[in-house]
Structures are given as structure tokens and as C-alpha cells.
């Protein structure tokens, strides 16, 4: 019983984290057809800037709960700045090129940003633990959980709802859906695709940075965290289907629960299980659970 509860809660917490990290990646792919490898760097930038600013915040006498606002604000600011540089500075010049060329460009950006992070923040790890402990601990069936972790489930739900609402209930969302379905027709109908691209990339980048910022309080922020994340985020996105928002949700839940179950029941396969699930899904549905089978245009 205790193990079942633990698997469910751990799985949900991990799935929420994966969802927050991966949704920006899938959004950018869905709209722009760009597999953004630099998403890992956006996560790292978010984590570093949050850890850095939280450190400064707690040296002042400001109310501790304000740190949550600072956390989110720092992610928005760094995400916007990074997206301006990456999208306006590099990717804008490559639209229309082969998808592979753009993937390579984002990989180059990823490598540059990894070194940029080291250049700015050095190699020593950063802590931003204060917000993590602030919310305290709760016991579920006798098992202690950090409320901060549980709150991530709520944050993921809010982000998911906002993205769904933005895509399906707003004018811009409908324009985006039009672009997702057919870019050429959308341009012909007078939609400013370049502006939508810039906006989508900015939202995706902010979500990536937010993932890092929300994770920073629970970890020791150190060089290389972006690499770990991008691999997991790709696995989730591929399981759900590239570009599909519901796909990310289901992909994150499957990976989260399977991993938690493995850790509790068969720890030896913990590393393997995520990729086993991914292989299984790809074997049965190569386009992912929610991916649309691509129509080949001749």
C-alpha cells in the first residue's frame, strides 16, 4: 500500500517536472518544426539565473515568500532575452532551410550556451535551497514529502491549462493552429508567420527557463544540467508525439509513473525503463502516441 502511494506520488511529481520541461520543446516543434536542442541550455540558464537571484534575494530582508515571484520573474526575463538572441539572431535567418540544418544550428547554440553559462557563473555549483524548505513537509500515509515537490503538480496543471486555453480559446492560438496545419496556406491567408514564430519561440524559451528555475531550489545547480534534461525531454516528447501538447502530458505521465515504479520495485532497470517505453511506443506507433502521421507532399 505504502509503496503504491509512493509510486503514484513520486510518479506524479516527476511527471509534472518532465511536463514543465518538455512542453516548451513540443510547442516550438509543433509550430515551427524546429527540434530545439538548445532547450537544454534554456533550462540551464533558467536554473542558474534563478539560483543566482535567489541567493541575492535572501541576503536582503525582503519577505521570504516573495522569492517565488522572483523565481518566476527571473525565468521570464532570461527566457525572453535568450529567445530574442536565438530566434531573432540565428534561427530567423534559417527559416525555410532543411530541418536537419536547423537542428544542427540549435545544437551549436546549445554548445555555445553551455560554455556561456560556465563563463558567467563558473564551475562551482549554486544553491537556491531556501524556497524549497519554505513550504515545509507533509506526511502522506506516513511518508514525508516536500510540499514544494507536490506544488509542482499544481504548477504543471496551471501551465498545461494556460497552454491549452491559449491555443484553443484565443485568436492568436487559432492563428497558431492554422500555421501548425499548413504554413503555406496560412501565409497566403495573410497571417504574419514570422511574428508568430518569434512569439512561439519566446513562449517555449520562457517555459524551458521556467523548468530550470522551478527545479533550481531542489538541486545543486552545476554545469551540465542542461544535457541531462534535454535527453529526458526528447524521450517524453517522442513518446507523446512531436508537437502534440496532450502527447507531452501523456508522455510525461507514462515516463514518470514507469520510472517511479522501477525505482521502488526493480531499481536495477530504472535507467532502462524510460527508453524501453520509448522504444515500445515507437515500434507500435512511429509517430508517437498523439503524433499525426505525416502526409508526404510530392
Amino acid at each position: 500500500m505504502l509503496t503504491t502511494v509512493a509510486i503514484l506520488v513520486d510518479g506524479l511529481v516527476y511527471a509534472s517536472w518532465l511536463f514543465i520541461v518538455a512542453i516548451g520543446l513540443t510547442l516550438i516543434y509543433g509550430v515551427m518544426k524546429i527540434l530545439n536542442v538548445a532547450h537544454g541550455s534554456l533550462y540551464a540558464l533558467g536554473a542558474y539565473s534563478a539560483a543566482w537571484i535567489i541567493g541575492i534575494y535572501f541576503q536582503s530582508d525582503l519577505p521570504p515568500y516573495g522569492s517565488f515571484a522572483v523565481l518566476i520573474l527571473s525565468a521570464v526575463v532570461i527566457g525572453l532575452i535568450a529567445s530574442l538572441v536565438i530566434e531573432r539572431g540565428v534561427l530567423r535567418l534559417m527559416y525555410g532551410r532543411d530541418e536537419i540544418v536547423i537542428v544542427l544550428a540549435t545544437f551549436a547554440i546549445f554548445l555555445i550556451l553551455e560554455d556561456f553559462v560556465k563563463l558567467v557563473w563558473g564551475v562551482d555549483p549554486y544553491f537556491a535551497y531556501q524556497p524549497y524548505g519554505l513550504l515545509g513537509r507533509v506526511r502522506l500515509f506516513g511518508l514525508g514529502f516536500a510540499i514544494y515537490d507536490l506544488a509542482l503538480i499544481g504548477v504543471a496543471a496551471v501551465i498545461g491549462l494556460l497552454v491549452w486555453w491559449g491555443l484553443n480559446r484565443t485568436r492568436i492560438g487559432k492563428l497558431l493552429l492554422a500555421v501548425i496545419y499548413d504554413r503555406e496556406i496560412s501565409v497566403a491567408m495573410g497571417i504574419n508567420v514570422n511574428l508568430l514564430f518569434a512569439g512561439t519561440f519566446a513562449v517555449g524559451a520562457v517555459l524551458g527557463a521556467l523548468g530550470g528555475a522551478l527545479t533550481a531550489p531542489a538541486i545543486s545547480v552545476s554545469p551540465g544540467i542542461g544535457v541531462e534534461v534535454i535527453v529526458l525531454a526528447f524521450a517524453v516528447v517522442v513518446i507523446g508525439g512531436l508537437g502534440s501538447v496532450p502527447g507531452v502530458l501523456i508522455g510525461a505521465l507514462i515516463v514518470g509513473i514507469c520510472r517511479a515504479a522501477a525505482v521502488h520495485l526493480l531499481p536495477e532497470v530504472e535507467l532502462f525503463i524510460i527508453y524501453a517505453v520509448m522504444s515500445l511506443v515507437l515500434a507500435l506507433r512511429p509517430q508517437g502516441l498523439f503524433g499525426r502521421a505525416a502526409v508526404r507532399k510530392i
Binding site: 535551497y129 516536500a146 527545479t215 545543486s220 545547480v221 544540467i225 541531462e228 525505482v263
Partner: protein, 439 residues
């Protein structure tokens, strides 16, 4: 010396007929090496996850020690300038990039940078890959930090030495300490990284527990990926297991993340946590790590070092220069440099002049010298592998010092926690550690 090595490498690739003439060209040059600086390659992590906790502190200690050795400012018996009269000229390179890259970097150091000797290596993978190349190039190579006992247990080298004790003693001492302070421990769980370091540490620890305390039951074995950073599910599994003790050899940012998450969820209240490589994280964790956690420093280093003039000098100088508490990697770097100085000077005294590499090797084998953490003996691995005592302590936040210190320190004789010469540590542990000299 470097020139000799370079020549031998060149000679190795030449036809036999050319060897004689090559050696004729090389031999006169040897005499010139006796003047001028002693070029020393120093290899440590300057980037990647191991740079913060180990690599950079070790680099800092090496730079400080080289400066002090060159100026003759290290306390006796090291108070003569340089190494056997020659100034050290360091060439510091980054250990990041994996074993294949390090082998290439080692060749570069010897063949392009013309170093006379190489001191370095934190990663066990590098420590297994580099020695065969050191033998081939005939360059004195001193491993300073890496832990795997396999270096000298599975091979034998002429040019390679390791001045730090190997990792078996970390877990032997940790298990002994746990049983000393918690004699009725029944259940033990582990969380270790899923690569050689984590798996070997856990295997050593559980083997020792089974020998010393056969009723020990292993509840759960967690092997998260290195640099996983998130341990939610693992911590739940440890909590569900309700184990009396939790063993972990996590290091660096993984360890720091585990402590933050484990403390927030009450793991440290419910189990006695044992962190075999926890010492470098203490200055950074500060109040985040609770009192009473069992912590090792891979030897009697840092706060576990016994007081001595050399230790006081080392600590004060390091803190004054860098503003940081010297953690175990700094002690091991200093220990390697002092071991090199001791070996060269012993050889120089016997030779009556600057020694050849062979003379240094003869002096280094079975050498006894003193480091900031006390006496070191090159006693096993045919005189190429150091042993020293080990010490384990418990965390306690010191309000006056404003940092975490280690208290309740227990010291274990070098022959209590190390196998005798010629015996593999795994076999020694499994056979019940015969001949262990523990008081």
C-alpha cells in the same frame, strides 16, 4: 628525463638499425636536464561536474604548494627550495573528456610539452587508462586522488605511483564506524551512482557489513544515474524501506541535491546516513546538512586531519590565499607533491646529485613520508601504492566557526582498513579481513 622518454618513444618506432644512432643523439642531452626547472604536468578537472568539488580545489592546492615548495616555505622536512634544488614549472591541464582523451593529453604532455613527470587524475577511469602509456613513455606518473584499487591490484607498473590510499579503506572504515556507533544496526539501504565508483563502493560496504555484522539485512539498493539531480523516487524508496542506516558514496552536485531533498523529506531523521565521500560538500551545505551524519573524507583529510605543524601551515595558508576551507582533494594534491619532493630528495641524497628517473623510482618505492594529513607509506602494490590511516566523523554545526565541523572522530590504523601487500581488497574483505590490526 623527458628527453630520454621522448627518445625512447622515437626509438620504439624506428628500425633497429636506427636505434643505435638515435640513442647516441639522445644520451648527451640528458646532462642538460639537471639544470633548469623541473617541468611537471598536473592533470585535474577544470570543467565538468567534478571540477567544483575536487578539480579546482586540487588545482588551487597544487599551485599554492608549488609556489611554497619553490620558495622553500613549506615547514620541515620540506623547507629547502624546489625539488632537489630545481624549481617546479607546472603545466596544468583539464582532466575532462574521458579516458581516451586523457591518454592523448598524456602523450601531449610528455612528447610536446616535454614534462619530466606527471601528477594527476581524479577519475578512476583515467587512472586505469594512463599507466600503460606512462610505462610505454617511461615517465614518472603520480596518481593523486582516484580511488579504484584495481590500478595496482590487477597490474604492476614501474613508473606509476599513487600517493593517496585506494577506495577500499573508505568503506571498510565507514562500516566499522557505523558498527562502533550503532552496534545494533539491522537494516541497511544504499544509494550510489550507477557506475564503477558507486557500485564498487556499495559492494565493498555491504561485504564488510556482512563480515563484521552477519545479521545485517540489505533493504534496498538504489543506483541512480550520475548527475541525475532528482532523487524523489529514490528517497521515497529509502523511506519506505525504513532502514536503520543509509549508505551513499554520492559526490559533488549529486550529493548536495540528495542532502537537500533528503533533509526536506525527513530521511536524515529516520535513518543514520553514512556519506563516504561527503566531506567536500560540507562547507557548501552549511546548515542544510543536519548534525550527526557520518561523513568520510577518503582518508584522514580536511577536518579529519590530525593536528601537526604541517597541517596548520597548510590550512592557514590555503584559507588565507583562497578564502575556502581546504577539502580532501586539496590534501591529496599536497600529499602527492610532497611525496614527489621526498622521493626526489631521497634519491638525490643517495646519488649525490640530481637523480635519474630510475633512482627516483627506487627511492619512491616503499617510501615513508609525511603529508598535511599525517604519515603516508608506499606499502602495497610492490611499494607503488600508498596506505595511510583513515578517520571518520560526524557532522556538527559549529556556531562559533560558522561552519559544519566533524566531531566524534574515530581513527583507524592503516593496517586496520587496508589489505596487506599482494592481496586484492575484494578478496581480503570477503575472506574476513584476516590480519587486520584494529585496536
Amino acid at each position: 628525463m623527458a628527453f630520454a622518454a621522448r627518445c625512447s618513444a622515437v626509438m620504439g618506432s624506428l628500425a633497429t638499425a636506427a636505434v643505435l644512432s638515435a640513442s647516441a643523439i639522445c644520451t648527451p642531452a640528458l646532462a642538460q636536464d639537471d639544470t633548469g626547472p623541473l617541468r611537471m604536468g598536473f592533470v585535474t578537472f577544470l570543467s565538468g561536474g567534478a571540477a567544483g568539488p575536487f578539480g579546482i580545489p586540487a588545482r588551487n592546492a597544487a599551485e599554492m604548494m608549488i609556489e611554497a615548495i619553490n620558495a622553500g616555505e613549506v615547514p620541515a622536512p620540506y623547507n629547502t627550495p624546489g625539488i632537489a634544488g630545481r624549481q617546479i614549472e607546472p603545466v596544468i591541464i583539464d582532466e575532462a573528456g574521458g579516458a581516451t582523451k586523457q591518454v592523448a593529453e598524456f602523450r601531449n604532455l610528455v612528447q610536446r610539452q616535454n614534462v619530466d613527470l606527471v601528477v594527476g587524475y581524479i577519475s578512476s577511469g583515467d587512472c586505469l587508462a594512463v599507466p600503460p602509456v606512462a610505462e610505454e613513455l617511461q615517465v614518472l606518473t603520480v596518481l593523486f586522488d582516484c580511488g579504484t584499487p584495481r590500478v595496482f591490484e590487477e597490474a604492476s607498473y614501474k613508473y606509476v605511483f599513487r600517493t593517496g590510499a585506494h577506495a577500499a579503506m573508505d568503506n571498510i572504515a565507514a562500516a566499522r564506524y557505523l558498527l562502533d556507533h550503532m552496534p545494533d544496526v539491522k537494516t541497511v539501504a544504499g544509494i550510489n551512482q550507477n557506475y564503477a565508483w558507486g557500485q564498487d563502493s556499495w559492494a565493498d560496504f555491504t561485504s564488510v557489513m556482512k563480515v563484521l555484522h552477519p545479521e545485517t539485512e540489505i533493504t534496498t539498493e538504489q543506483f541512480p544515474k550520475i548527475f541525475a539531480g532528482q532523487y524523489g523516487a529514490e528517497i521515497s524508496a529509502l523511506l519506505v524501506s525504513g532502514s536503520d542506516a543509509v549508505h551513499s558514496s554520492l559526490w559533488g552536485s549529486d550529493l548536495e541535491a540528495f542532502v537537500l531533498q533528503g533533509v526536506a523529506r525527513g530521511l536524515f531523521d529516520e535513518s543514520q546516513v553514512v556519506l563516504t565521500a561527503g566531506e567536500p560538500a560540507l562547507p557548501r551545505l552549511g546548515r542544510q546538512i543536519p548534525d550527526g551524519v557520518i561523513v568520510g573524507a577518503r582518508g584522514p583529510h580536511g577536518d579529519l586531519a590530525p593536528p601537526s605543524e604541517l597541517n596548520d601551515w597548510f590550512r592557514e595558508r590555503f584559507i588565507a590565499k583562497y578564502g575556502d576551507i581546504p577539502v580532501y582533494a586539496t590534501y591529496k594534491a599536497a600529499q602527492a607533491l610532497l611525496g614527489v619532493k621526498a622521493a626526489y630528495e631521497k634519491a638525490a641524497e643517495a646519488a649525490g646529485g640530481f637523480p635519474t628517473t630510475d633512482q627516483v623510482i627506487a627511492a619512491f618505492e616503499h617510501l615513508e613520508f609525511v603529508g598535511p594529513s599525517g604519515p603516508v607509506t608506499m606499502a602495497i602494490g610492490n611499494g607503488h601504492q600508498a596506505v595511510q590511516e583513515n578517520a571518520i566523523g560526524m557532522t556538527k554545526y559549529d556556531e562559533d566557526l560558522g561552519r559544519v565541523t566533524l566531531t566524534n572522530i574515530t581513527r583507524y590504523d592503516q593496517w586496520c582498513v587496508n589489505p596487506p601487500d599482494g592481496v586484492s581488497s575484494v578478496e581480503w574483505i570477503k575472506s574476513g579481513m584476516p590480519g587486520a590490526k584494529c585496536e
